[in-house]
């Protein structure tokens, strides 16, 4: 039977408690087995006492805890009889080291603070690398899972590096493959959940075909998973009938209070009754942690639709013993066979496999490794900096060391003593650093919860603590060993001038190293900051001020026909327009920066159909009500915007963006031309206007040709995509103030319509930049720390030199050396090693920044401006850091100087 602290307490102390548990492993196994739970219980009760509240309290608590731990662990091990004499010496060394720290608090606080910041930053970044990149996906054998994409090379008539496959392609692949266990399909969408006494809410849903759960290798925790019998009806572009559903663990807990009798209950989704057949396990989230509910995604395997109907996602799992190379070879052969048998895929278009983990995290992998590299460099600078401090202190401790040697301490014993001191410093810094990392992570995650994929998995766990301990040991060794050897060697004999020179050389070397590393970090950060500046200055193509947007879905049971959707949207627009404070309202199928949209081909009247291999005309199609351009602040460059007269009965019209004009009408004006969308029974449409480019996918994505259609006319010939769309509302005031009014207006038309993803237009832009902003901010911060530490190093070496050379300076001045000459002599002391470091750092950066290529937007990794401006600035700052302490040297009077020794 063991003692345990109240569990809420333990939860609150999470991180600190885990760290304490790690620390008490220092005790022998016998003692731990008997007292661990009691130690933990003691820790929990003690930690929450009022006297240990706040930062000062926390520090004082940990100081006491560590002191107790250090003192008792050695004694306990000694009692256990294990390596008795050695433990006692270690105990002695630790005690001595603690007294040293107390004796020189200025030095100790500086050293611990520098290391804590560096170790804390490394720990925080490593926890992100661990959570996003290293942590395996939550499925069995996740490394065998691959996304299936299609690629269109220009000879196919299109040009897309990565595109979603069509169900027909995937069904063919799934039927033919032997290298894969199977290929499953999925698609993400939203479903409206209504229940009595509850506001209608939109649930994030994922449709899975009958193969997908087998591919992922997952089972329901309660109930059963989808089988072929659940795949009723046929999924269409806009509607998924969900006769049955599996709840995510989160929804089951939040909405149903973990009801164990959940299977067989029903819920209302999109106005129709759905039976709950089970609950997924707690750790399962697919494809992202946002998913609330899983529904069947029926695919007609006999007639899975047109080959070119792209728009679903697919994942395959490698069969046992099959390598990815073999699977790729098989797929290449299949691509060739299909081309021969069905004429599809055409030349330059093929299916390919991409590792699932990589496709989920995308650029974040490179960005995080870059941050990790940067932060490890900062850690190195920190360690070098403290080495420099210790070296300087070694000189002042020379007499103490000589005394100890005279009393019989061997060299090895002295080195061990000094290494123990370094370790005590490093351990204190690590404790503080891990605390800082925890606070920092909480802050970053609170502000940017979605800036990076898989960010929900970022936490300081045992792996991360293991890394911190490694960082601790590594830095202790780096900054402790050199000064320790130096100090003990120097003390073997009387101090000689040769020792002094050697020590000075070592310090100069350390300063050069610090500066060189900081140049690499600062230059890399400079490039990334420049890239981010480019990104943030990009014209999104619309005015984001004073606009609020929200998504809306008009469900099929309530709005079964196109006509009813048209009437519904029109009434909503009118009602919203009547809301006080609103100066413009529009509805669109795709807001800016919201992701890809449908991408149909179109023909231009009077032009021959393109030959195979020739560029086909296709454009992202966006539907909008009259007033959209005006409400969103999009400039009309030629012709006109949509007008209220562009109704279902009026002649059909269309508007293109500038990129479409540049691509398909280079040097011409398309206004007055007629185009036809490649869909059944599509009419010829007159081009009536050209508008500026609006970024639909992401700020850093290439702008695609875009085709805008009036909402009312689109209903006639294209599939009814517009029952899903978004409203944008313009106001001269604060747009967030409009939300209650908008809610009331929507409820007045249909109380069962939830407002989804309510965001200001400014937020749309900001979200697109959240990842780059976070990475840039962090890297900039690290560069700042690196620079500061390097400057402290330069300042330190000069300042130390001034203090030691007071007498020499006095004599020089007495002999007639001018103040300026003395000043520059001293400035050189710091500037010379700094410039050596600058040179080495520049050369290194020239090679290293190449690795940033993929992360930079419109900036060359060897951007001349960055490579010239930053080093000049750094040189200036290095001279300045040398100049400040050098001024002291010039104030020395000869009399003072001669008195100084």
């Amino acid at each position: 039977m063991s003692v345990s602290a109240p569990s809420p307490l333990r939860g609150r102390l999470g991180l600190e408690l885990r760290f304490f548990r790690l620390l008490i492993r220092i005790y022998g196994a016998g003692f731990r087995d008997r007292y661990e739970e009691e130690l933990v219980s003691f820790f929990c009760r003690d930690r929450v006492r009022d006297r240990y509240a706040g930062v000062v309290g926390t520090l004082s608590f940990w100081r006491l805890t560590l002191r107790d731990l250090a003192a008792t662990a050695a004694r306990e091990r000694a009692i256990a009889g294990r390596e008795k004499w050695r433990a006692e010496t270690v105990f002695q060394d630790i005690g001595f080291a603690l007294r040293q720290i107390k004796a020189d608090p200025g030095f100790s606080i500086t050293a611990i603070f520098i290391l804590a910041v560096a170790i804390g930053a490394s720990t925080a970044v490593f926890s992100a690398v661990n959570g996003v990149v290293l942590r395996p996906l939550p499925y069995p054998e996740p490394d065998s899972l691959y996304r299936v994409f299609t690629r269109f090379l220009p000879e196919s008539g299109y040009d897309f590096e990565q595109f979603t496959p069509s169900p027909r392609e995937i069904v063919a692949y799934s039927d033919a493959t032997e290298a894969l266990v199977d290929v499953g399909l999925f698609d993400g969408f939203s479903l409206t959940f209504t229940a009595e006494g509850l506001d209608p809410t939109r649930l994030s849903a994922v449709g899975l075909d009958d193969r997908m759960m087998n591919v992922l290798g997952v089972h329901a925790e309660i109930g059963r998973r989808f089988g072929a019998e659940d795949m009723l009806g046929k999924a269409t572009f806009t509607t998924v009938l969900a006769p049955v559903a599996l709840l995510s663990h989160r929804l089951w807990v939040d909405q149903y209070g973990s009801d164990p009798a959940i299977v067989g209950q029903t819920m209302t989704l999109d106005g129709s009754i759905t039976e709950i057949i089970g609950v997924m396990p707690a750790g399962f989230s697919f494809p992202s942690p946002d998913t609330d509910i899983y529904v069947p995604y029926p695919v007609d395997r006999v007639d899975p639709g047109d080959w070119g109907w792209h728009g679903i996602s697919a994942i395959g799992r490698l069969a046992d013993g099959v390598t990815i190379e073999q699977a790729r070879e098989e797929l290449a052969a299949l691509n060739a066979r299909w081309r021969e048998e069905f004429g599809h895929p055409q030349e330059g278009h093929f299916l390919y496999l991409e590792e699932l983990h990589g496709s989920l995290i995308g650029d974040a992998r490179e960005a995080l490794w870059m941050l990790m590299a940067a932060v490890l460099l900062v850690l190195t600078i920190g360690a070098v900096n403290v080495a420099s401090l210790l070296l300087a202190r070694g000189e002042t401790r020379a007499s103490e060391i000589r005394l100890r040697m005279a009393l019989g301490a061997g060299r090895a014993r002295l080195i061990r003593q000094m290494l123990t001191e370094s370790t005590v410093l490093a351990v204190s810094a690590t404790v503080l650093g891990v605390g800082l990392a925890g606070l920092g992570l909480d802050a970053v995650l609170a502000v940017n919860p979605r800036a990076l994929p898989r960010m929900d998995g970022i936490a300081i766990d045992t792996t991360v603590l293991g890394f911190s301990l490694l960082a601790c040991a590594g830095t202790a060794l780096v900054f402790g060993l050199a000064p320790a050897v130096q100090a003990s060697r120097a003390s073997m004999s009387e101090r000689t001038s040769a020792d002094g020179a050697a020590r000075k050389r070592l310090r100069s070397l350390l300063v050069s190293t610090e500066v060189a590393i900081s140049v690499v970090v600062v230059l890399s950060a400079g490039l990334v900051v420049r890239s981010f500046t480019h990104l943030s200055q990009l014209d999104a193509g619309f005015n984001s001020e004073g606009r609020i947007t929200f998504g809306m879905y008009l469900p099929e049971p309530t709005y079964p026909t196109n006509e009813e959707v048209r009437i519904g949207v029109t009434r909503l627009v009118d009602e919203l327009r009547a809301t006080p404070g609103v100066t413009g309202v529009a509805f669109t199928s795709a807001l800016p920066i919201s992701g890809p949209t449908a991408y149909p081909d179109f023909y231009v009247q009077g032009r021959p159909e393109p030959a195979p291999g020739e560029r086909r005309s296709s454009a992202q199609t966006i539907v909008a009500t009259p007033g959209y351009m005006n409400t969103m602040g999009i400039d009309v460059l030629a012709g006109r915007a949509f007008e209220a007269t562009d109704t279902v009965n009026a002649p059909p019209v269309a508007i293109f963006n500038q990129t479409a004009v540049d691509t398909y009408w280079p040097g011409e004006n398309p206004v007055g031309d007629f185009v036809q969308i490649a869909a059944a029974d599509a009419p010829w449409i007159e081009v009536v206007g050209v508008i500026e480019d609006v970024r639909t996918e992401g700020l850093d994505r290439e702008i695609q040709p875009q085709l805008y259609l009036p909402f009312e006319q689109e209903q006639g010939f294209w599939q009814a995509t517009s029952r899903i769309g978004s409203f944008v509302i313009r106001t001269p005031g604060d747009p967030t103030q409009l939300v209650p009014g908008a809610r009331a207006a929507v409820a007045a038309i249909d109380p069962n319509l939830p407002l989804e993803n309510i965001r200001t237009a400014e937020d749309l832009v900001a979200r697109s930049l959240a990842g780059p902003r976070l990475i840039t901010g962090l890297l900039g911060g690290f560069a700042g720390i690196a620079l500061l530490l390097a400057l402290v190093g330069v300042y330190g070496i000069v300042s130390h030199s001034v203090a030691r050379r007071t007498r020499e300076i006095g004599i020089r001045q007495a002999l007639g050396a001018g103040r300026t000459r003395v000043l520059w002599m001293m400035v050189r002391e710091g500037a010379a090693p700094a410039f050596v470091g600058l040179g080495i750092g520049l050369a290194a950066a020239f090679v290293v920044t190449e690795a940033l290529t993929d992360l930079l937007y419109q900036v060359s990794p060897r951007d001349p401006a960055t490579f010239v401006a930053l080093p000049i600035a750094l040189a200036g700052v290095a001279v300045f850091a040398s100049w400040i302490p050098s001024r002291r040297a010039t104030r020395v009077t000869p009399v003072e100087a001669l008195r100084s020794e």
Partner: protein, 118 residues
Amino acid sequence: MTPRPQADGLGPTPSSLTLVTVQILVSLGRGPMHGYGIKLDIEERTDGAMTLGSGTLYQAMQRLEKQGLVQSSVAQEPGGRRGRVYELEPLGRDVLERELELMQRTVAFAAAGSESPA
């Protein structure tokens, strides 16, 4: 080195007890307590002058249990949770009494200046 209970039942010689050990015995002299309770009790009695860390406390408890001065058992705490509670063995009580007596004599001796002890 480790003091052992002696055949005469008088336990370790008083001088082998540390101040921490004495304080723990004094606390347990007031009745059975759990580990953290002992810490709080000592803090209260010494006005915070003696603050035990967990390692120090349980190391002492381990020693005292081995010496047979203290025994522990699992019991229901006031909060309803189950926890380990320590109490004095008869031997521990004897040792404590002897130690306190010795202390009193020491204090009296010190208070009387350089006069010889009574």
